[in-house]
């Protein structure tokens, strides 16, 4: 009964959306803002990756919000799992096998490095702070899986989160005082496109995001794996 009703209702919605999609031809150029970004994104922001120039340049404010969302979730998860938690005990699990342990210890720095590469080169190649951060976090996930009992120090992860966010906001606020008087305006020299040191504040922001996202996602995993404190 319930399924039937759901299907009927969803069918109605599908029909409605389908009708609307007729107006949005697939695979054709309907953009107007996007076209501008492609045309002048390189000059405006100095980033080769136009997605990056949109994410950290034109729509950097969204990204600030996005970072905040992740921050909220990490903090909120901590709060939810911490308050009135049934036990502060760590579950005793048998340690991983030596092969896994050694493999993890070996892979951990490599994955970290890969993550760092991804977010440092965010303005040049696909990837950026979020992807890099997620990879960094997956390194920590590996540690949890392979080297049970190891945990990141909360002080450090908190400080990283905090500093990452502060760098982002601080860079933005500097824009108010620096050239142009706009929040998050790209006031640093843009350099040459396709060079590592180019695109003004974009790489700095992406690095900050990378650290922050890495720390937050690792914190999320940490919170879920262990009931903290």
């Amino acid at each position: 009964m319930r399924i039937f009703l759901s299907l009927v209702v969803l069918a109605v919605i599908a029909v409605g959306i389908g009708k609307t999609l007729m107006e949005i031809p697939f695979g054709e150029d309907t953009t107007n803002v996007g076209g501008y970004y492609i045309q002048s994104g390189r000059d405006d922001t100095g980033a080769a990756n136009i997605v990056t120039s949109v994410v950290v340049g034109y729509r950097a404010f969204d990204t600030l919000g996005e970072v905040t969302v992740l921050f909220v979730a990490a903090v909120g998860l901590g709060a939810v799992l911490a308050v009135g938690s049934a036990s502060g005990r760590r579950r005793d699990v048998e340690p991983a096998s030596l092969v896994l342990y050694t493999g993890c210890r070996f892979l951990f720095p490599l994955i970290l490095l890969f993550g760092a590469y991804i977010f440092i080169h965010g303005h040049l190649t696909p990837g950026g702070g979020f992807q890099g951060g997620a990879i960094v976090a997956s390194a920590f996930l590996l540690v949890y899986l392979g080297c049970r009992g190891r945990r990141i120090r909360h002080g450090w992860s908190k400080a990283t989160e905090s500093l990452g966010g502060l760098v982002f906001v601080g860079l933005g606020l500097l824009g108010l005082t620096a050239a142009g008087h706009f929040f998050l305006s790209n006031y640093l020299p843009k350099g040459t496109v396709n060079h590592l040191f180019s695109a003004g504040i974009i790489p700095i922001i992406y690095v900050a995001i990378g650290f922050k996202v890495g720390a937050e996602l690792a914190g999320v995993i940490d919170d879920l794996v262990e009931e903290s404190e």
Partner: protein, 619 residues
């Protein structure tokens, strides 16, 4: 002496009373008394003045104003006078009770807001003060605590809220049409309005005023509220607060709409005044019988308040200068004797330890003579015995009804008076006459400060009864202010072509009649007083409690009319409240607690929007 100052003193005094109460109770009492007294002095200084002034504070682009004229002055003086007496009375009555700071502050606040309603020069400030009056009254009705008082409070505030919401709609509708709320300006504009709107506004306003004036069928809040409030406050409720409804009717019918407009709002016999008059008549009769059925001293008085309101409305709706004068004068008179009676009932309650049940009182005449005199005079005024003020006003109302050719209405009014006599007698008899129950042997008389208001009011009843010209000259000025022809008032009464009301002649006639009665009684001989236990049934003495014959007073009458005078309106309203409760109980079941359902609501809402658009494309 300005009205702003008056209002400021009244409102500020109320707040200050509360603060002072936190410092010292004595200081608070003194201040409350002083404040009430100062207000009376101030209002008497304002006698005869007439002005309208804008307040410095506007409200949402509207100009607020206060005004003073005979109508306002008349109502203000009753409010402040009863307020003062009530405060005096409270000093002892409320002693040793809890929350006195709250009590005095709220009492004075209610007085201040009532004062505000009558001096308001525009409908918005009228409404604001009206609402302040409503909620502060609500805060005081339940003061005693207990389920009955709480029920009375909620009943009052819900009715009152209905009234104020309808009034708000009416006021705003006027504002939307004429872009002003000043009463004087509206009076000019209203003449140009359409019939439909006039009727809309009139009906909405009338609902409010009928509710607050507790006319049938919206009387149901009053008996509960008046009976359950503390007595000094019941006096205020009954004497002045209820009559704000009449003030509203005056404003509406005469100050704003005017005769011509009222005259136009008629379909044959079904005119606004007629409907109102019949509501008044029904109220009179219904309330008289309901009062008769009560066994609670304050409830009797409460129902009599309902009934007397009917007289006033009768007088007002007749819309001749005589009827108007009768109605207006009756407001004053009622205010005097009902306050007196509540004070008396309160005094009995105070001395007997909270007893209001008429079956268990009796014989208090010797223990509380002042109360007896006050009660008797008050009841006489209520009934309209000659030489008391009630007589004059009722006489004016009857006369106007007869002159206007409204025999049925006049008959209803007479019927009501008979009822009044019956329950008035019951009140006096069951409290003061008959045997004194043993447990009341040691009851003391009324304390001095409680006696003061009683004595003052008793004197006033006689004064206005014997010299009706004093108040009538004021009443006449109210009438002329509202546009009625002036009555020719002399100090002794109203001389006119169709029979003269002259209290001197009446006095003489009564003196002669009294002398004859005295002679007859003397000729028949003295009655013999016997001891209470000096009665025998089949030779055996019965314990005195058994034949306390106030129990079941009028019970034959109850058996006959009882089934027909149930308060079915009240029952109806309670039923509506019950229905609302069940509707609520059903409605809340929407929120089943299962989150899948909740998501289903969201999706259904979306699907419904889309479906309607696809099917009918209304948007």
């Amino acid at each position: 002496m300005t009205v702003e100052l008056l209002l400021g003193v009244a409102l500020g005094g109320a707040l200050l009373t509360y603060v002072l109460g936190k410092i010292s109770p004595g200081l608070r009492n003194a201040f409350a008394l002083l404040n009430a007294l100062a207000l009376v002095v101030m209002i008497s200084l304002l006698y005869g003045q007439s002005f309208e002034r804008a307040l410095p504070l506007g409200f949402l682009g509207l100009e607020l104003s206060v005004r003073m004229n005979m109508l306002s002055w008349f109502f203000a003086v009753t409010i402040l006078g009863i307020g003062l007496l009530s405060v005096i009375y409270s000093l002892v009555y409320m002693r040793n009770k809890e929350r006195l700071d709250y009590y005095y502050a709220t009492l004075l606040f209610i007085n201040a807001s009532m004062l505000g309603t009558v001096v308001a020069g525009d409908l918005l400030s009228f409404f604001v003060f009206w609402e302040m009056m409503s909620w502060s009254t609500y805060l005081l009705i339940s003061l005693r605590g207990g389920s009955k008082a709480i029920f009375a409070g909620i009943k009052y505030i819900v009715m009152s809220l209905i009234g104020s919401l309808t009034m708000l709609v009416a006021i705003v509708s006027l504002y939307v049409s004429f872009d002003t709320l000043s009463i004087t300006e509206l009076a000019g504009h209203v003449q140009s309005t359409t019939m439909g709107q006039a009727l809309f506004v009139l009906v909405l306003f009338s609902v409010t005023f009928v509710i607050i004036n507790a006319l049938w069928p919206f009387h149901t809040w009053l008996p509960d509220a008046h009976a359950e409030a503390v007595s000094p406050f019941s006096a205020i409720l009954s004497a002045v607060l209820v009559r704000k409804g009449l003030y509203g009717l005056y404003l509406l019918m005469y100050a704003m709409l005017g005769f011509s407009m009222l005259g136009k709002l008629a379909w044959g016999a079904l005119s606004y005044s007629n409907v109102l008059a019949w509501i008044g008549a029904i109220t009179i009769v219904f309330a008289a019988f309901r009062a008769l059925m009560q066994n609670d001293s304050k409830r009797i008085l409460a129902w009599s308040t309902v009934g007397q309101g009917g007289y006033m409305v009768l007088g007002v709706s007749v819309a001749t200068n005589l009827g108007m004068a009768g109605g207006t004068f009756h407001i004053l008179n009622h205010c005097i004797y009902i306050a007196l009676l509540f004070f008396v009932a309160g005094a009995i309650e105070y001395r007997t330890g909270g007893i209001r049940d008429l079956d268990s009182l009796g014989g208090l005449i010797k223990r509380m003579p002042v109360a007896f005199v006050g009660g008797l005079v008050g009841i006489c005024g209520l009934i309209g015995v000659p030489l008391t003020n009630g007589f004059v006003s009722k006489w004016l109302i009857y006369k106007s009804l007869v002159l206007e050719g409204r025999p049925f209405l006049a008959f209803a009014a007479f019927l009501g008076t008979w009822g009044t006599i019956l329950y008035g007698y019951k009140f006096i008899h069951n409290i003061f006459l008959g045997q004194l129950p043993d447990r009341f042997r040691d009851v003391k008389g009324i304390p001095f400060t409680m006696a003061v208001p009683i004595v003052i009011l008793t004197v006033l009843i006689f004064l206005f009864g014997v010299l009706p010209g004093i108040p009538l000259s004021v009443v006449d000025q109210v009438g002329t202010y509202l546009g009625f022809e002036s009555l020719n008032v002399s100090i002794w009464g109203i001389p006119s072509e169709t029979g003269t009301l002259n209290v001197v002649n009446l006095l003489a006639a009564l003196a002669v009649a009294g002398f004859i009665v005295w002679l007859v009684l003397r000729a028949i001989g003295r009655s013999v007083s016997v001891d209470q236990d000096d009665t025998y049934a089949a030779g055996a003495a019965i314990p005195s409690g058994k034949y306390h014959y106030t129990v079941g007073f009028y019970s034959p009458l109850y058996r006959i009319v009882g089934p027909y005078v149930r308060d079915f309106v009240d029952a109806f309203f309670l039923k509506i409240a019950g229905w609302t409760g069940s509707v609520c109980g059903v409605t809340r079941k929407i929120y089943t607690g299962f989150v899948g359902n909740y998501v289903m609501y969201i999706i259904l809402f979306l699907a419904a929007l889309i479906f309607v658009q696809i099917a009918w494309s209304p948007w």
